[in-house]
Symmetry: C2
Subunit: 105 residues, 2 copies
């Protein structure tokens, strides 16, 4: 336990706010991340995505999504696997995620 198992902070379902979620989704890069995660139920390391931003910027975006309650992040080796919190989002805002993902542009 000497090691601070800093499991990354995630908001509980009832702590997720619609405004925060919308703010998180209202960015092109983060929206691209969400789209990619929607196609990988098992989750994936966002570092592999061709987003055109630096690593530190990517960290910022993933943290924003995590703190908003949009994604769940779990450490795995030197990587961090992100996955969409579909169940929570669908329960709180039914249709929102589907609507966003249905957008053609």
């Amino acid at each position: 336990m000497s090691v601070m198992t800093t499991t990354l902070a995630h908001p509980e379902r009832d702590e997720i706010r619609i405004t925060t979620v919308l703010q998180a989704l209202a960015d092109p890069v983060r929206l691209q991340i969400v789209r990619a995660l929607a196609m990988h139920e098992e989750g994936l390391s966002c570092g592999v995505l061709p987003l055109g931003v630096t690593a530190s910027t990517l960290t910022h975006h993933v943290r924003t999504l995590r703190e908003a309650g949009v994604v769940r992040v779990r450490p795995q080796g030197t990587s961090r696997i992100s996955s969409l919190r579909r169940d929570d989002l669908d329960a709180l805002f039914p249709g929102l995620l589907d609507g966003v993902l249905a957008a053609r542009r």
Copy 2:
């Protein structure tokens, strides 16, 4: 029939972008406006809403919503009647609006 009575600029349905819509919705005041409009199919003058912002700020918010394609605004006397572009939004992003409006907070 292209009538020139369009005083205010509104994006066509196919010009509406998901990122812009999300940015428009990602503000507490504007979200409150959208919620109010959702309860008034016929539209209403946003000036009557108890939003706690000045008139000029309200103008800014309504313009943001209009330019994003979220609301339609029509002049009526000295007032401007705003109404939700439900049909367009539902067609483009089915479920998004319902999901947002379903949010308890």
